[in-house]
Structures are given as structure tokens and as C-alpha cells.
Symmetry: C2
Subunit: 271 residues, 2 copies
Amino acid sequence: MPQTQHSLIKKWTELQNKTGHCLCIGLDPDISKLPSGYPQSVDGLTHFLCDIIDISHEHCIAYKPNISFFEAYGIPGLKSLETVIQHIKKSVPVILDAKRGDIGNTSAMQARFIFDYLNADATTLHPYMGFDSLEPFFKYTEKYHFVLGLTSNPGAKDFETQVLDSGLPLYRHIITQLETWNRKFHNIGAVVGATQEELSIIRKSHPSLLFLIPGVGTQGGSYKEAYLNGKNDHNLALINASRSILYAAKEKSSLKKDCLHAIQTLIGDAS
Amino acid sequence: MPQTQHSLIKKWTELQNKTGHCLCIGLDPDISKLPSGYPQSVDGLTHFLCDIIDISHEHCIAYKPNISFFEAYGIPGLKSLETVIQHIKKSVPVILDAKRGDIGNTSAMQARFIFDYLNADATTLHPYMGFDSLEPFFKYTEKYHFVLGLTSNPGAKDFETQVLDSGLPLYRHIITQLETWNRKFHNIGAVVGATQEELSIIRKSHPSLLFLIPGVGTQGGSYKEAYLNGKNDHNLALINASRSILYAAKEKSSLKKDCLHAIQTLIGDAS
């Protein structure tokens, strides 16, 4: 089965054709940043996120809720996440940003939570513990799995970019391995940070692997640059922006206008 | 402040003096493995774990509940985890095995969930994203943070043991960094797998860092060997066994006898 036949690749391509873009909207909710007009509570947060989804779902190809921002509010926060995922699922796929990965029997439990219980379509994973820590995820064939390659934070230099005795940086070795594993599983992508100049170099060496590219907007990257450097040989990428869209509005009354304006500002130059 | 003054180091040393051992009991609950006599439900699981804790708390210096095994049962599973942590806290410290780590603002949310909401004393972390992904944890000065060094699973060879151009394997570079950071924070340890022959070599190069050592019991490592090779220059280590103790009993009626026998078998040769 070629990679393009994966049901999520089909869906993302279809949504890219419809919206004209490859925007993924990150949902990193923070009660203290809610626009005025929403109650400063987990309920307020849930309503806010459902409003954001209603406003933006025709302009993106995926949402990426970050489970940690929900967990921070404990069990009520996780109930909010369940509601938000159900709300998203009516329109576009859900990439649950969870950055999991552990020994095999533990990873199987993590996958059960993310896919069977929370019903996400895709997730993000830490590569450190190697293949048997990732395989229980890959075995969910209908799901997609984005493994960290090169991230957009300053600490990427501590370990990710360390040069191996082969002359390749660690993250390049990891991405090469992901490509190998993807020939078998057809459902593996890489997280590659948009603020890194290496994006286009990595893409040249790995033309087909799908990249989830965070770091656009508040983190400093440009959508256009990320898309041009990061799209694969099927012109697909998942370019994520979170805070710049989510917290564009100061007040509930201007949410729609401000949110759509933020999206337009972000992607407008790439249309 | 020297590392030995950390309140958790004091507590672990005190419990080591009391029990004569450095045993950490991992709680990886699985409803399908419950001894007969417990309902095959999340409630049954909670009762089983509280019974295990009542039976074993005078024989260990910490418990290490693995959050993924609770998450697998969704929100009811996380409620069980809350109950179990409260039950443990009456006796010994809780290391919540969560293997988190993300960009700084996300790690701060993860730490909030683990320490402020769930009230754990320590956790486990993925090193891949580097210092700024770990610092929000380290800043919880009263807590302890075990970062993955060398793990006991086969996939450790994929990335952890890759040799850098300095000639050192990646995990050694990471452990060296942890040691450097620990001089400032005094609350950092490393996870080092007991089934790896490298344990004693690593210990010689890093005499003071505290190691959390999984892989004893079902995963194949010996408690005695792990302690002798893994203890630091204050004779402290956290040697973890999970399934060999947790699932020693087939029936509820023999839980106490079988659980204590399993502990004795495991640590007996090191007394």
C-alpha cells in the first residue's frame, strides 16, 4: 500500500484542496489567557475552544490539542479534552500532541488511551527509547504517528543536533530510521521545527516523509517558509500555529473577526 | 546545598536504613492480571493496589506508579491513580513514572499536573528536547526528576547507544549533562536499565548521581547486581521491580503471602 493511500493522507490532501492551505491549529488552552466574556474556568475553556473550532474548521486541515494543557487542570481538564476532541471530529482530524513513548507494554497502554479512549487520529512521540517503544503505536495502522526529529526550542542543540561518529547529527539518523520504518508501516511522520534553517536540507534528503511543523506564529516561524521548505513530494505538510491564532482576540465579542484575521495574516502570503 | 540534604534523599536514606534495602515497587496495573477475588474493574484494581501497598510499604523505599497503565482506563483510571497516590503518601515517596518532556511552556503544564494536581514526589523525563524542556521540572526544587539515560529495552540500541563524534555514546553525554545540571539544581537523577552491562561502567564515571534502575525481576535483572553496580557514593539507588511483585499472587486470599515471598526472593540475596 503506497503511503498516499493512507486514509489520513487522503483526508489531509482533500482538506488541503478545499482550504488551499496546510494549516494545523494547535490548541494549547490556558484559562488565564481566555478572552474576556468567557468564565475563567475549565467550562469557560471548553466553550472557548468549541467556538474557536466552529470559527476556524473551514480554514485548517487538522487540530492539534496539546494534552498537557488539559492535564494541567486535572480530571476536569481531561473531560474538557474529551469534549473538544468530539467537537473537532465532526470536521477535521485530531492530532493529539502527547509526546509519549516508553517500553513496549507501557507504550501499548499509552496508545490505548490516545486512540481507543480519547479517539484521536494521530499523535506525537519521543524517539529516544527506539523502535520497540514506538511499534505499539505504529501498529495502529489507521492512525498517524509523528515522531520528534528536530524541534524548534533552544534545547534542541543539547542532544538532537549532536553529531554522531557517522558525521550525521542525531536527528538526521532518527529521521532516516523513521523513513525505513515507514516503508513497512506507511503511517509515520516526523516533527521538524520551522524555526530551524535545517528544514529545507532535511526535506531534500527525505522527500516523501510527512512533516508536522510546529513553531509558526508566536514561536517565530513563517507559514509560507515552513510550507515551501517542508512540504513533501505530494505537496503536503502539517504546519502548526497555536497561540497566534488561539489568543488573537481580547474579547469574546470579537473572537470570530480576530481569529479569522489571525489565520489570514498567517497564511495569506502563501495563498 | 549538598545533594544529600534534599528532603527526598533524606527520606530515601531513612527508609533504606529502616528496610535494609533500596527497593522501589512499580505499580503497572492491568485489570486482566488481577488475582481472582478482585472484581475485574477499575474499582477492583484500586482495591488491589491499596492492598499491595498495605502489605509491602514496610519493605520498600518508594512506589513508582506508571501513569500510562492508569490512563489506559481513561478518566476512571486516573481517579484510581489519585486514590492510589494518596494511599502511598501515608508511608513512602511516590515516583510517578510519566516520561514527560516538551517545549518549556508545555513542560510547565506537565509539571503542574504531576506535582501540583497529582501530588507526586518525583517523576521520569525524556531528555531528547534538551535543557529548556526539563528546567520547568527541575524548578520544582522539593521534587526529584529522573531523566532517561540508558533504558533496559532492546530499542536502546537504536538511538541511546549511538556513538557521538566525541567517542562517547549518546546516553553517556546525556548523563554527563545531567550531572552538570544537578550541580545547580540538586534534584536530578538518571534512569539506567539494570539489564545493561554498562551499569557499573556508567557508575564509575558518575559516582554521585542518583540512579533509578528499572528492569529487575520480570525484565530479567538481578536486584543484588543492580544494587552493587548501581548504588551511588552514598550507597543509595532506587531499584525498581514491578510485575514480579505485583502479580506474584493468583488469588486474593494468598496476596500477602505471595507478595511478601516475591519481595523476599527478589531482595533476599542482597540482605
